[in-house]
Symmetry: C2
Subunit: 111 residues, 2 copies
DNA sequence: TCTCGCTGCTACATTTAATGTAGCGATACG
DNA sequence: CGTATCGCTACATTAAATGTAGCAGCGAGA
C-alpha cells in the first residue's frame, strides 16, 4: 500500500473537488476525526485508551478513522500506541486558534 | 426559540463533555458543517446557491446544518441569503492556517 | 389575474454510516 | 499453561445522510 495524493477517497460522499482544502475538510468533517486528533495531542494512546478518551466510541469506526488518518499521514502507530506524526502535529497546531475561539464562543452564549 | 448555551444538542452522539471545544468539535465534525462555513466565506449565498456550491448536497441535511449553525450564532439569514455572522467570520478566520496547511499537505503527498 | 420563476423549507422512502457487543490472532508475563 | 493486554474485525441494530419531489410565499411580467 502506497497511496497518497491527498484526494478524498473514492467512496466518499461530497466534496471531492481536487482542491486540497476540500479533501481536508472532507476528512475532518467525518465523525470522530477531529476528536481523535484532539485526544492524541498530548502523546500516543493505545487503541483502547483512545477509545476511552473518545467516550467509548465503537472500535469499528475508530479503526476506520485511524486508518484514514494514517493514510493521510497525520497519525502513526508506534510502540506506544497511536500518535500524531510531525505532520499531524502541525495539523493540531492549527486547532489552537479554534480552541481559543471555542472559549470566546461559550462566553458569547445566549447572545 | 432561543437557545444556545454552546453545548452539544441532546440527541447528538458522542462528545458532550461540557467543554466548549468539545461542543465545537462535535458541531464541526458533522457532515457539511465545515464545508458550509467555507463556502460562505466570500459572502451570503441563497439556499439554492449554497446547495450548488456544496456539490448538490441534499436540502434536508443542508437545512439541518444551517439551523444548527444559526443556533450556534455562526450563520444568519439575511436578505441576500445565508451569510456568516461576525462570530462565524471569526470562526472562519481560524480556518486560514488550515488552508495553508492543506496546501503543504498536498505537497507532502506520497511522503 | 394568472402564470412564471425564484425564495426558504419540508416529507418520505432509500441508502449509507455509525453504534454496540462480541470475539479473533498475536504477543508478553507469570 | 493461564491470563491479560495489544491491534483489529464480524455482524446485527440504529441513526444519519441522500435523492426526489413538492409545499407556501413573494415579486415581476404579460
Amino acid at each position: 500500500m502506497a497511496k497518497q495524493a491527498p484526494a478524498a477517497k473514492p467512496g466518499v460522499r461530497g466534496s471531492r473537488s481536487g482542491r486540497p482544502i476540500m479533501a481536508l475538510l472532507d476528512l475532518l468533517g467525518r465523525r470522530w476525526t477531529l476528536r481523535i486528533i484532539w485526544e492524541l495531542r498530548e502523546g500516543p494512546l493505545t487503541s483502547r485508551a483512545l477509545r476511552s478518551a473518545c467516550d467509548e466510541a465503537s472500535p469499528t469506526i475508530l479503526q476506520t478513522r485511524l486508518t484514514e488518518l494514517r493514510e493521510a499521514g497525520f497519525v502513526e502507530l508506534t510502540d506506544d500506541g497511536y500518535g500524531l506524526t510531525p505532520l499531524g502535529r502541525e495539523l493540531f497546531a492549527t486547532f489552537t486558534p479554534l480552541h481559543r475561539f471555542a472559549e470566546r464562543w461559550s462566553k458569547h452564549a445566549g447572545s
